[in-house]
Symmetry: C2
DNA sequence: GGGCTTCCTGAAAACCTTTTCGGGAATGAC
DNA sequence: GTCATTCCCGAAAAGGTTTTCAGGAAGCCC
């Protein structure tokens, strides 16, 4: 059995109320008793039972992170950011992954709700109705990379559209005209935003957009690239939905005997570590993943503490184009 | 306020005991009442308060993971494995990172202990005394990559020594004689094991081992490689403590105008994703990180359930040498 | 029909802590 | 010396749930 406040009280020869008062400094206690309580508490290594605190409606000290999944370099960076902020705020992180099905999502939220003081939710495929029902859960919630309209909650996003717009513009300035977009999952909000940025850049240059269905995986990128390149009018550049997709595309192009960037330029999104170390290194958009995680947790913590930080904020974090070897001017 | 068992009882017109009995199937309840309870419970969307359960000494459904840190590809894979097993066992994952200081470590363990049913601890730098005191905490514990002798607990490790032994042997068979080892953190058990495997292979070939202090980071690998290569008898091959270290070494060698593998062969350890995608791709040892995480959680869950799975097991998981481009026979 | 068993169900205790309430002692004012 | 005030501190309630205990009703046997 573990040590309870009663053990401390017995050893110090006082009541449990007095122990609680000393340890929380909630009201004055005569000096001799206070000393005895402190001595007993330290000798026994007492720590309050978190379950009892939580039952009393006190803070649990936890932040919950609900992520679509957890492997891959993107998430490893994100987790690093979440963890760092949690550490510095003396909170602990409860990570849970939701495997897309909406009812499972609700179940996990309910289970998590009581265990933590607040939730960081990343669910790009979440729609507004689902997000709204989520918010009825009592714990404060911050959304990451989630594009639900009309939701009264803090939301932190990258400038997805701005990123692909800038990348596509870069290709256009390099003389490319037939630029295709290998799209991500159709239901994901960030994916839709990236598609929008691409289309806007193409439109404003008077070029015809051309979209192929792909996804956020290497396999999907490879398949899409093969389909594009074997079509009657193959593109000279491919804007991929993310880096994984771009890396898959490059692999497929090379297998077809094409050179990147000589024959085809390819760009990605996210700037995962592999983007810099692959050959050719990948022109992409650097997103401040780590920052995103950190800021989200800090904002959440502020809400939890009940600080007066105004109405919910919708933050769009700037992204940065990184030019590397996978793009070249059209000769 | 959230819905309690009392709300369900009121709506169903029974006592809270009856509600508990129906929902847990702990003893028979007459059919009409049972139906009413189930109806009420579903209509209200009732879910038991985890804090109350935990207070009663019931399971919390959580698995705690205590890791040295959380970013990097290695940990992302590990987390993926932990998460996958936790998901399939209907448990949730509480992740906490311990930033090495021993007292902080103890603090986190204490805080985590009551919130979860068991702990997966990865602490390569943990010594036996610390591990033993950790085990006095009541929750079942499984150690990962931790080398504490004489500890009565489940431990899952890779065959670290076997891995470097095999890699070093590979280099020796390729005609290398001057093979140096860029060592990892001196206090980490896995690091010591890798050093041991290297030394054993060198000894049994009658070669002189040569060790340079490095670490598990690129920077450390680069520094060590520079020092080695500028010495009077530079090695023709470097065995690095892990992949990050190897990648750093390769970078430094190239900056010095040397070709890998033509002038110097380099090998790593872990087979992180970047190892396959870098140029030259890295000869290394593939460790079943994901499996390790999965198995650890499964073993922990079995202990928690109190299944009769015999005494603590010390599992050494086999590793696999992956030959790629960063090694070549000596001409 | 009376006594005994069986079955079901409600009351209450237990888990651990914080906080409110009330009482007792000490101190100060007159 | 008496009364009022202040200061401490212990008892008890509350929070949500499971489980034990005990009691009531129904069924069975003779």
């Amino acid at each position: 059995m573990s040590i309870t406040i009663r053990d401390v009280a017995r050893r110090a020869g006082v009541s449990i109320s007095t122990v609680s008062r000393v340890l929380n400094g909630s009201s004055p206690v005569r000096e001799d008793k206070r000393d005895r309580v402190i001595e007993a508490s330290e000798a026994l290594g007492y720590a309050p039972n978190p379950a009892a605190l939580s039952l009393l409606g006190k803070r649990t000290g936890g932040v919950g992170a609900l992520l679509p999944f957890v492997s891959g370099e993107f998430f490893s960076e994100l987790l690093g950011g979440l963890d760092q902020a949690a550490q510095s705020l003396e909170r602990f992180l409860v990570v849970s992954t939701s495997h897309r099905k909406p009812d499972e999502f609700a179940r996990i939220v309910r289970a998590l709700d009581k265990r933590v003081d607040g939730l960081v939710v990343m669910a790009p495929e979440l729609d507004s109705a689902a997000a709204a029902s989520l918010l009825r859960a009592s714990a404060p919630t911050v959304f990451l990379n989630t594009f639900a309209e009309g939701i009264e909650a803090d939301m932190f996003n990258f400038d997805n559209a701005g990123g692909t717009r800038a990348l596509t513009g870069h290709l256009i300035r390099h003389g490319h005209r037939r630029i295709a977009f290998a799209a991500g999952p159709p239901l994901a909000g960030d994916s839709q935003e990236r598609a929008r940025g691409y289309r806007e850049a193409m439109d404003s240059a008077g070029l015809q957009p051309r979209q192929a269905d792909a996804g956020y995986t290497r396999q999907a990128g490879a398949d899409a690239a093969r389909a594009l390149i074997r079509s009657t009018t193959p593109p000279t550049a491919i804007v991929a939905a993310n880096d994984e997709c771009a890396l898959g595309a490059i692999l497929a192009l090379r297998e077809d005997g094409l050179s990147v960037p000589h024959d085809v330029s390819v760009v990605g999104f996210d700037d995962i570590p592999a983007a810099a170390h692959t050959t050719p290194s990948l022109t992409t958009v650097r997103v401040p993943i780590r920052d995103l995680g950190e800021q989200a947790v800090r904002q959440l913590a502020a809400r939890i503490e009940g600080e007066d930080i105004g109405p919910p904020r919708h933050v769009v974090m700037p992204v940065e184009v990184v030019i590397r070897e996978s793009t070249a001017p059209l000769p």
